[in-house]
């Protein structure tokens, strides 16, 4: 078991229905992609939010990472849509 702090932004936040949460992860979740797949099993709101998994961006400790990045030791993992600032 590992504990992770998750933060969500924009429509990922709205669809999941909360801005942040702390979750206990089962063993076997190694990468950011594994985490996304696991979250989708937690309920309809996660399924809806993460339906188009390939567009979901992931940041670990406030730095962008790819979905194959290992999440071990992450203090904070953020999930959000493609960015539209500027």
């Amino acid at each position: 078991m590992a504990t992770v702090n998750l933060v969500y932004f924009a429509w990922v936040r709205e669809r999941i229905g909360r801005a942040e949460e702390t979750l206990e992860l089962p063993d076997g979740i190694v990468t950011a992609g594994d985490l996304l797949a696991h979250l989708k099993t937690l309920g309809e709101e996660y399924e809806t939010a993460l339906e188009h998994e390939n567009v979901i961006r992931v940041a670990i400790n406030q730095e962008h990472v790819e979905h194959d990045e290992p999440i071990a030791g992450a203090r904070e993992i953020a999930l959000f849509p493609p960015m539209t600032g500027g």
Partner: protein, 156 residues
């Protein structure tokens, strides 16, 4: 390139272009060119009453800082300031400011362009539109042309 002043602010309040240019070049005699880019909120031909900008506090500043430092190294900039606003922004109001300084104009132009291209695609900000009738129009979608604009910097 240590010692090049890079100023990054993420704030709700508006900013003043002249004051930011002044702050960046004050007391310096080595700067030959200053380029200023500011991005404003459009009303989309009267369809839009406001933009709501959400950001990831901490990462927004860190990411803009990474982009500015990269521009300093790549273009030999002498100073950079970047300010991005969040919260509700009305048509005609400022959203973002980038100021770059260099000895000659091309580096300052290219540096500002580079910073904006990366800021749009990798700084964690998201825009939601409010329609003129006050109803939410939803989140702005990311544009492919913004990715293309960013990617042209990696072609040599």
């Amino acid at each position: 390139m240590g010692g090049v002043p890079v100023t990054v602010r993420v704030q709700r309040e508006d900013f003043d272009l002249a004051a930011e240019v002044q702050a960046l070049s004050a007391g310096r005699h080595d700067i030959g060119a200053v380029v200023t880019f500011s991005g404003l909120c459009r009303d989309e031909a009267g369809m839009l009453s406001a933009l709501e900008l959400e950001h990831y506090p901490g990462m927004a500043e860190a990411e803009i800082n990474r982009i500015c430092e990269e521009a300093v190294t790549r273009f030999g900039l002498q100073a950079v300031s970047a300010i991005h606003r969040y919260g509700k922004i009305l048509p005609g109001e400022n959203i973002v400011l980038v100021v770059t300084a260099s000895p000659h104009r091309q580096a300052a132009f290219d540096g500002a362009n580079f910073i904006m291209d990366f800021l749009k695609t990798s700084a964690p900000f998201w825009k939601k539109e409010h329609a003129a009738d006050g109803i939410e129009r939803g989140w702005v979608s990311a544009k492919d042309e913004d990715d293309s604009a960013r990617d042209r910097w990696s072609k040599d």
